[in-house]
Amino acid sequence: MERALAYRRLIIIGIFLAVGLIFTARLIYVQILVDKYILSANNNVLRYITQYPARGLIFDRNGKLLVYNEAAYDLMVIPRQAKNIDTAELCRLIGIDKDEFTRRMIKARNYSPYRQSIFEAQITRENYGFLEEKLFRFPGFFVQSRTLRKYTYSIAAHTFGYIGEASPDIIEGDSYYRSGDYIGVNGIEKSYESLLRGEKGMKVRVVDVLNRDKGSFQEGKYDTLAYAGTDLYSSLDEDLQEYGEKLMANKKGSIVAIEPSTGEILCMITSPTYDPNLLVGNIRRKNYRNLVLDTIYQPLFNRALMAMYPPGSTFKLVDALVGQQEGVLFPTTTYGCPGGFSIGNGKMVGCHSHPSPLNLKGAIQISCNTYFCRVFRSIIDNSSYTSTRQAYEHWRKEVMSFGLGRKLGLDVTGELNGNIPSPAYYDKYHGKDRWRSMTIISLGIGQGEIGITPLQLANLAATISNRGWYHIPHIIRAIGKKDSINPGFTEKKFTDVNPAYFDIVVEGMADVVSEGTARASKIDSIDFCGKTGTAQNPHGKNHSIFIAFAPKLNTKIAISVVVENAGFGAAWAAPIASLMLEKYLKRKVSRKDLEERMMNADLIHGINTGNEIGKGHFLPD
């Protein structure tokens, strides 16, 4: 049988040979008979040019342009294709020397001989013109354009944030970004990155071996359009922000203002600050280093969101509300003040001298420490609760419902929680359940381990003006179109305190301004409400704090001002707040003397170091 099947070998060999023949024929066709492949080889280099869209613009609440884009041009090179270059000429055109040229070519080649690298970043507009004309003489080189951020006004640097090159981690995690692409690093630029960045497009061009552009590939069949970024309308009032930054010059602290009916942030000021135009493009790296190295004034530190202070007397308002809610405090509740509140062991919480006794309204107006220590005590020692711990937990929950001790949900990065100490904290410090109202009495007057950010203080003022609710504060009021609403911020957040209890507190705050601790800061023809605070600072002079809202009826603005190391709340924070309110409501300020005094006051220099630095706004060296 084997013999009989031997012929099959021939058939199989036949199949092999047939295939070999087909291949040979095909080779003859492709290699010898037809020209198109050899031609294609010379001509078929494709170049993918990314189309970078314009980044979304940012406007203020009145439509003023705050952040816009400027075109920048990068000179790119593909090392493999850069042959027969008149190096001297190119150096002359760009403005570098021969050694630098060699250095950059080596760097590009090390990255990849076949892929494009940036050879010269951000050529000026003029140079770009000269260069474009002559670029055909330099195979392997071409220009790619992109946009940089420009700021019309040198304000709100921390809030806007800045953009930088995407880091390798980001590139790995998100396929949209490639090496060299820009991405928002912080502030609005980061939070709204996906809207601001738009969508990249792609143009496919055919270039020959000498890198000459031969037109678009397949008539643009594979091109994709770039989509410009979405514009954002912020709630900031440019006038107000600029004014506030001037008032805060040469001081450490912050101003935050909110529109209570919407939660829109009217201004968010941190001082010391810097010109946002410093962190753009080429100069960013150097300027950033300078700013970071300034450890004394820390201009990059966003105090409005990230600095925590003990609220001092401003916290008395919260105690007043919680006390009423708990049923241990009434508008008629009266306590006398013998100059202080004794906490045992011969220690005392001191109080300044004032008429005595006081009811609730009076206690707010005068800011009596004794009164509020007693209020706090009655909240914590409330017999309806079985233990100090339980009472404290209730108190804490009610306090946190004002947006304190937790993040509010701002639409910009960097918000801090603040701190309302938990029972566990006291357990750890004093031993489990071995603490009583007297141990933590300083909470009654806003001192101690309690920490609140300026944003939270402003939100507190807004909440009180609304009689017990707030909208989550946000910076961007509209997306895309001027009258669209930024969703997610329309829900009212209610506190745990009954609205009925707010009126008396508001009256007290009005009295603070008309006759009380802030009477020096009252404004002609505007009735507003406020509360002073002086935060104790173990490292230096106390911080001056003031919260307010105006007008008393139909409130348009709630504000918090913190000035570090400035002493009493009434001394610096109140006048500044008052000026801000006047500026916002009347559009101009009549108290020029006060304005001048506030603007020119320098509270930070000459105290710490011998560094000779500019006045509050930082310039590059």
């Binding site: 099947l5 060999i13 290699q31």
Partner: protein
């Protein structure tokens, strides 16, 4: 080579020379494909050509070892080897590393080992062993079923690894079955079916079916018009029509998207810029630009600029085409044909049925890889990623094929004995 028991002069030096020639040319072309100015030493171990050199040295050691071993070892342990690599193919599904969509590699040290490559060789052994018994008659259904199972089992496992290309190559064993006595009509059918399938994608279905009807009718009429022939003609017509109609369905619903895309590219339906279409287009450009004499060693612009992807593995033939032109390409094809035909000629002079059938297995395996790989590079077949034996970069492939070939050379050296 050691001179031992006088086998030296029985070893077919032609086969060994062909092997060495292909391996060497492959190595030089890998160097050319991967070459760039900054790494010039051909022995640089960080580059593929350096690694290939190591693989080659290792495979020479393998080859010599096989030549020394008593060939009875292979026939006795055929099933064992087969079982072992089947097991490895299962294990790799769980323990393997996923590369480019298929989970077919073990990562050991800095290298990867593909059990699939060795499974091909093991199947040739097992199949030859099974059919190698003198009284085995493939016309018995039971024999046929088992033989087919031996072939299909590893193929299925490889499919589970998502390596469709490697699974396809197992079809080549039908040639072994044919040589062992399987009806020639089966072979014919296997050749006709893909042709028909392709036609079905190009030509209108109904025209095709009508043509088939006519052909079947003619066959019947020209035959002796017996009832049996009518049944057969009818069966063929129905089967092929069924095929025609189901091809569309299969292509659109059974194949994975990238596979469908490759077929579309082949048919010219889709000039996919960045995907499979790009590969083939670049490949043709590279080969075509070589013209008659080629551009010269290390002078290929398409390869130098990295336009052809997978140049050192699937598309290694492009480097030959571009740098050595028609002359070079033809020589490579001739060498492969020479190798395969020589193996077949030697196979038939084996006294042992096992050795003969194994030889056919070797030639068939080499043939199908040769056919698919070069066919793909020339744009005749859709892109199916399988290596060119002895040529493409890769340890597993080189070792598996070396072992495959040298087992046969070893047996051939004792061709007059029963193994």
């Amino acid at each position: 080579m050691k001179s031992e028991k006088g086998i030296f002069y029985r070893i077919d030096l032609v086969l060994v020379s062909l092997y060495l020639a292909l391996v060497l040319m492959g190595w030089l072309n890998i160097y050319a494909a991967v070459y760039n100015d900054s790494h010039q030493s051909i022995t640089d171990l960080h580059q593929k050509y350096g690694k290939q050199m190591v693989f080659i040295l290792a495979s020479l050691v393998l080859a010599i070892s096989i030549l020394i071993i008593d060939p009875k070892f292979f026939s006795q342990f055929s099933y064992f080897i087969y079982g072992f690599f089947l097991l490895m193919s299962v294990v790799v599904i769980f323990a393997g590393r996923e590369i480019a969509g298929s989970k077919s590699w073990f990562a050991i040290g800095g290298f990867g080992i593909q059990p699939a490559e060795f499974a091909k060789m093991a199947t040739a052994l097992a199949l030859a062993k099974f059919l190698g018994y003198l009284d085995r008659n493939i016309k018995h259904p039971r024999t046929l079923v088992i033989a087919v199972s031996i072939i299909i089992l590893p193929a299925l496992l490889i499919l589970l690894e998502h390596d469709t290309g490697s699974a396809l190559v197992f079809f080549c064993f039908v040639l072994v079955l044919y040589r062992a006595g399987l009806s020639g009509y089966v072979l014919l059918a296997l050749l006709v079916i893909p042709v028909l399938g392709v036609l079905a994608l190009i030509i209108n279905k109904y025209i095709l079916v009508a043509t088939l009807f006519t052909i079947s009718g003619l066959i019947y009429l020209r035959s002796r018009r017996r009832a049996r022939t009518l049944m057969i003609a009818l069966a063929i017509f129905l089967a092929s029509s069924g095929l025609v109609f189901s091809v569309h369905f299969a292509v659109n619903h059974v194949l994975e998207p990238h596979q469908r895309q490759r077929i579309n590219v082949l048919l010219g339906n889709n000039t996919d810029l960045k995907g499979a279409g790009y590969n083939v287009n670049q490949s043709l450009i590279a080969i075509g630009s070589g013209r008659f004499w080629g551009k010269g060693f290390l002078q290929g612009t398409q390869t130098k600029y990295n336009f052809v992807p997978e140049q050192s593995t699937d598309f290694i033939f492009c480097t030959v085409g571009e740098e050595h032109g028609f002359i070079g390409s033809f020589i490579v094809i001739a060498l492969f044909l020479g190798l395969m035909i020589r193996i077949l000629m030697n196979a038939d002079r084996q006294r042992s049925k096992f050795s003969r059938l194994y030889g056919y297995g070797v030639a068939s395996l080499i043939f199908i890889h040769f056919g698919i790989n070069i066919g793909m590079a020339l744009g005749i077949l859709p892109v199916i990623g399988i290596p060119l034996p002895f040529f493409s970069y890769g340890g597993s492939s080189l070792w598996a094929f070396t072992i495959l070939l040298f087992i046969f050379i070893r047996q051939d050296a004792m061709r007059n004995e029963l193994v």
